[in-house]
Amino acid sequence: MNDLIIKSGNLVNPGGDISGIRDIYIKNGKIIGIDEDNTKLNSPKIIDAENQIVCPGLVDLSVRFREPGLEKEATIYSESMAAVSSGVTTVCYMPDTQPVIDTPAQIKLVENIFKDVDLCKVKVLASLTKNLDGKNLSSMMELKQAGAIGLTNCFNPIDSLLVLRRAMEYASGHNITLFYQPHNTSLANDGCVHEGKISNKLGLPGIPSAAESIAVAQAILLSKLTGVKLHLCRISCLESIMLIRNAHSAGIQVTADVAIHQLFFDESSIHNFNSDFHVIPPFRTKDDLVAIQKAIQEETIAAICSDHQPHNEDAKQAPFANTQHGIASIELLLPLLMELVDLGVLDLNTAVAKVTSNPANILGIDSGVIRKGSPADLCILKKDKWTFNNSKRISSGMNNPFTGKNFNNCVDKTICNGKIVYENK
């Protein structure tokens, strides 16, 4: 591995003390100095980052790379390539693979594949219940000891509040973070779009906002009861945001994230049954969109993730309700984020914090910050007009509603553990 000097880049480093035009010195995968004339480097490769932004490598709180079990849709290799092309250097791996990640051996398996692929780092979220059944707790502490960064039940319901309470209590005692996707399946009632204008117009079964916000309220109250470290995944409606704000002002420690696509679309995007817009939680109203955009300007929603869910072509080839939900857009995470900056929704520093230091803090890992001694996980970003289309696509996932969209920014290089893992050519 070459030693590296990244010269004259504009450091955007919201989680750290140092920013502005700086030189970064990298040796053995670590940042050994910033702006110091460091002679310890051994014939370093020099990267000229003048007029470019240098930020910490992105930490993505939710990805599905489909391996093991669904390699026909995507693999850890194919999706890691897509991830690093967007500056992502750490991904949180969701446990709903086949088989489900609910044993230490499953965690090791995934970690080993990532090591072999050697592009980005992985933090595994293991299953909260055995086989995601929502009833029987998995061996939570064993999973933590095996490296699980937290536990989640993904989209799968935990119908009994008593089971959820016990899971939280147990997790709280062992300092395990619970990643909870708020979704009351009984109220969602097999819906596939937001209940409102669009469900009415298209005659598709709707999911009311209350299916999410009621689950948010329950989880917040149980986290207060049990003291668990709770992270709410994929918030989509303004009622949930109000509840999180109230929790924060009552001193309840709860964090939340939103999927990047929720910052771009509302329910009207589905108007002609376009199944590329089939997501859970569904795209909601304009008011919800505005509320989410406001909530990410504050600390209410601390992180933005890709919620990457690649599918092959068949998955979307059916009438809307029969299609698989999810969007494969990890490779656009940073370009989309920069678009939010260009549109004035976020300032640059806040935008970068939402995908670097904030998610790293939620996970409790040494990442997402540029500082002396930290792993050299970095992303170099440049201004460049380009169009995302199928010939540019890196992910195996065909399901991307942003196809055809123009961007003003692109990732020039991604560095993970001091190694250049992506270069824009």
């Binding site: 009632n189 097999d190 009415n200 598709l204 376009n274 080839q317 059916a318 009438p319 549109l343 969209k405």
Partner: protein
């Protein structure tokens, strides 16, 4: 944010993409985007076909040599039969496929089923499917020489039923701008209601009402240009046309109503409710009728009921739609 516009370029020209020329349709999927003039043209053409059924030889040679497939993924008697009769009276060859029992049960995907039927060189698919948007999905994936007629997709649309309903209404009330129309019952699960609301709005009916318990009225139904009522007596007051809907218990997966007895008391068309509607008012029902649940036998079989006329009119209206939609 104006994002949607930029990203969905292919969605922008959706309006009327199913219309090739003022007198020719590419597909017949939905009423929502049809111009008023085309709807009236279809009604006029149907009027001319209505005479065919009364002749000793009930056939015209318009679609001779064409093959039409009734592709039904959901059970149907009335709709499938009237489509079949309409196609046969236009001299087309008709194939009936009830797919809910065959291919799909063996794991074949919808697209593969379509590809196989395309390989048999058919000219038109008349499609009924339990999923909303199925007809639109099929129309996007079928080869360009094949027309798709939507015979009902999930809760979304049943445009030929709405056409035959307005055809029937016009027989009694030629001026749509002067009537009050009420649709009563299970609006939420009804594709007929959705298509009717569009048709009546396009025809500029000034007072369209939907009546039912809140559990069966879709959230935001006002956006369709209609006035919701929970009280049936108020809702049907002075209406010229009352369209009763079937209670679709097979689509109900949770408690929408307490029981059928209470439902009949609140929303059933009992004989005494005939006094509330306009003196010349008519009662309609798309069928099949649940007697004693949404309508009493006395009303269904009475002189204000036009339920069987709707069925006969269905043939003429479907003949008009088939002939306008067949590719040359």
């Amino acid at each position: 944010m104006s994002e949607n516009k930029e990203i969905n370029l292919d969605n922008e020209n959706k309006n009327n993409s199913d219309i090739i020329s003022p007198k020719h349709l590419r597909h017949f999927l939905d009423i929502e985007n049809l111009p008023k003039s085309l709807i009236l043209d279809i009604l006029d053409l149907a009027e001319s076909f209505a005479g065919v059924s009364g002749q000793p030889v009930k056939k015209v040679p318009l679609l001779r040599g064409k093959t039409i497939v009734n592709l039904f993924f959901e059970a149907s008697t009335r709709t499938r039969t009237t489509f079949e009769l309409a196609a046969k009276r236009l001299s087309a060859d008709v194939l009936n496929l009830n797919l809910d029992f065959s291919a799909t049960k063996k794991g074949e995907t919808l697209l593969d089923t379509l590809r196989n039927l395309e390989a048999m060189h058919c000219d038109m698919f008349i499609v009924r499917h339990p999923s909303s948007g199925a007809a639109e999905f099929i129309s996007k994936n079928v080869s360009p020489n094949i027309s798709i007629i939507n015979a009902g997709d999930g809760r979304h649309a049943h445009p030929t039923q709405a056409m035959l309903d307005i055809f029937t209404i016009r027989k009694y009330f030629p001026d749509f701008k002067k009537i009050k129309v009420a649709i009563v019952g299970d609006i939420l699960h009804s594709r007929v209601a959705r298509s009717l609301m569009h048709a009546l709005r396009i025809l500029e009916v000034p007072d369209i009402r939907v009546i039912g318990p809140k559990t069966l009225l879709p959230v935001g139904v006002e956006d369709m240009g209609v006035t919701p009522y929970v009280d049936m007596d108020k809702g049907i007051k002075d209406c010229n046309v009352v369209i009763m809907l079937r209670l679709q218990t097979e689509r109900m997966n949770s408690s929408f109503i307490p029981d059928e007895h209470e439902y009949y008391n609140l929303y059933g068309f009992s004989p005494k409710r005939l006094d509330l509607i306009s003196k010349n008012g008519i009662v309609m029902h798309p069928g099949p009728v649940n007697r004693g649940v949404e309508i009493s036998s006395e009303v269904a079989d009475g002189n204000r009921s036009v339920i069987l006329q709707q069925v006969s009119n269905g043939i003429a209206v479907r003949m008009a739609i088939l002939s306008l939609s067949m590719q040359p």
